[in-house]
Symmetry: C2
Subunit: 397 residues, 2 copies
């Protein structure tokens, strides 16, 4: 039994198909009892993996019923042969589920530049379909993992006009020094009824405040995608754009995605801390985001977090090179509630010693007040320690 709020009308399956030499789970299926409305967000990388080339146009139609996922091989930089395999897997799954092929999408994550074999899918797809069950959602989350230390699930539950709905999110990805090539896959399922145009709006808004506040627009992998499916299986009235119900759904969606995004940061390869970089007092929200990103992605700041060193000099320098016009003599910096810099100057050794205690926590906030305006934004980052090197130096061996 799962302790998550499971939306109605979805079944799940995961198995070890052999793509991963370790014998771990590496193939998964999410299947809706009926065609779902859907929306997606995809990588902005110019190098696009084969599964994205198959999936992106299908999601654009706004309808989807089944998602096939594999880990261990990204099927990226695999040319026409890779595209053929991706296409063939979608066809095999459609046949097995007795669905129109255009309702079946595929996603891959793993090593780039290695040809994807078809055999694991020929054997795996019938097994997956046979194994589909309401309660196998954790198997799907596990089968998506690559360098992830743990699987990532989050959910929410509410009701609309007397009918309950659930939102369930599954994600894979590990934070890293900005996750520039860490494939991030996210699948969000709801049994509410919501039309594709509204889904698209809500998904983009929620992704901006979650997955795109731990990563960077241009810095996405060849395989990144987040899909949102709404199958209306709760039987309730549709949630309409511009209503309070849509805002309510939006808040739940944002919370589920932010929970998943924070898990990705916390699972930053080798990460031991989850740090929110909160920039306030900016002239506008994009400026606040740019400054927060600059600090959150600074390797020197992140190694200082690992060293539990309240090194606000590195933080203010990262503010300075963000490209945003700041006044160094107005910048305040604190760790949780402990100020370490006021008007760009140290608050002294006593407060810095208190701040050092904050850095020993697993979870804290760096507040940077630019004192220029009223806008704010947050980025979430991790510390940078030895394990990042260990995991990534040996990834393919």
């Amino acid at each position: 039994m799962s302790h998550f709020d499971l939306p109605a009308g979805y079944r799940f399956a995961g198995l070890a198909s052999g793509i991963k030499k370790s014998g771990k789970l590496d193939m998964a299926l999410i299947s809706s009892a009926q065609p779902a409305d859907c929306a997606g967000v995809f990588t902005q990388n110019r190098v696009i993996a084969a599964p994205l080339q198959i999936t992106q146009p299908k999601i654009a139609t706004g309808r989807c019923q089944a998602v096939l996922i594999n880990s261990g091989n990204a099927n990226a930089c695999t040319g026409d042969a890779g595209l053929e395999v991706a296409q063939k897997t979608a066809e095999l799954l459609a046949e097995e589920l007795v669905l129109p092929e255009e309702l079946v999408v595929v996603a891959s994550t793993g090593v780039i530049g290695v040809q994807m074999p078809l055999a694991p899918f020929e054997n795996g797809i019938p097994e997956l379909v046979a194994a589909l069950a309401d309660d196998q959602v954790t198997a799907v989350a596990e089968a998506m993992m690559t360098t992830d230390a743990f699987s990532k699930l989050a959910s929410a539950r509410d009701e609309h006009q007397g009918t309950a709905y659930s939102i369930l999110g599954l994600a894979k990805g590990a934070g890293m020094i900005h996750p520039n090539m860490a494939t991030m896959l996210g699948f969000v399922l709801t049994d509410a009824a919501i039309a594709p145009v509204l889904l698209d709006t809500l998904l983009h808004r929620a992704v901006k405040k979650s997955f795109n506040s731990i990563t960077v627009d241009g810095d996405t992998s060849t395989n990144d995608m987040v899909l949102l499916l709404a199958n209306g299986a709760n039987g309730g009235a549709p949630i309409e754009a511009g209503t309070a119900a849509a805002e309510q759904f939006s808040l739940h969606l944002e919370r589920v995605l932010l929970d998943l995004a924070k898990m990705i940061v916390r699972d930053g390869e080798g990460a031991t801390k989850l740090v929110e970089i909160r920039v306030t007092g900016a002239t506008d929200e994009p400026s606040a985001r740019t400054v927060a990103k600059s600090v959150a992605t600074s390797s020197l700041v992140k190694t200082a977090f690992f060293g539990e060193d309240a090194n606000w000099g590195r933080i203010i320098a990262a503010v300075g090179y963000s490209g945003i016009d700041v006044d160094q003599n107005r910048i305040d910096i604190s760790f949780n509630q402990i100020p370490v810099a006021r008007n760009g100057l140290t608050t002294g050794p006593e407060l810095e010693a208190q701040a050092t205690e904050i850095l020993k926590l697993d979870d804290f906030v760096v507040n940077i007040d630019l004192n220029q305006g009223q806008s704010e934004a947050s980025y979430y980052t991790s510390d940078l320690g030895y394990d990042y090197i260990r995991i990534n130096a040996d990834y393919r061996t």
Copy 2:
């Protein structure tokens, strides 16, 4: 005796003033026998250290005779008090050298946000002036070091209309994951006679191909500066703009700066390898630079170098997210002369095994041919290993 080509009319001194608790050299002086023409390149960080606020306007006048340098304290984020100390040190040095104060400039590197004491300068400056000597250049290079594992010197020698001239460069800095807050100081001295306007042109050109090909425009520290002094002490005819002699000088200057830049990369904190990322076949030079930078600054690519893994998938993904419009099906990648990807596809396990041998070298080239045009650019980077974390996690302790 130094084995470098020393330009005439310069004297040097270095000492341990006590700013560094370790007792290592931390204060240095370069003094010209006569006022030199000069040019400078300065940080683009919005947070600017006190010494830069003093030095930048003086260099803009085109004349300079003495440079005072300290390590151990950056005198950055130190407000009016820090500015006063920087100003006072320039005054003390001018007095001791019996020079107009406007010919004396200052440079600092070290920890940010700690007030700079005046006492080490009050004691150190008279000692430095008393110790000035032709052959103390290595003491200056050593006194500039912070996390540097070795001091950095390079030189060139040629003649102009029958009169010999030398170019001597001193630098400090360590590569890091793009050196976003590693202060880079560079001082280049020549005894040729060259007017400030030409010096400025030549310096900017040389910096672009050297120090700015290991770092990033916006990503500079609060304290970065490169100064070029030409004191004409060789007694020869001035080198004029638009002549073959100016081009010849320019080539020597570029070589000296590139030598220093490569030393900085090789001294990347914990670096074990020097890797040139050479992008060819780009539609224009800025595009080639952008792609090269994207690959050179990818932490995943750099950890793969550390792991000696010919992981071209991470390289092509970094090409893809560079923001430049590339065609993934036309990209060729090789390590030295060994091709690992052609038209975006693997060349097979045999060549990849050969490429893995290249990665065991201390020094190699990653060639990325976009096959779109005729332009090219290089960036220099290091691998990313455990020692980077060790050095930076404990920097202030």
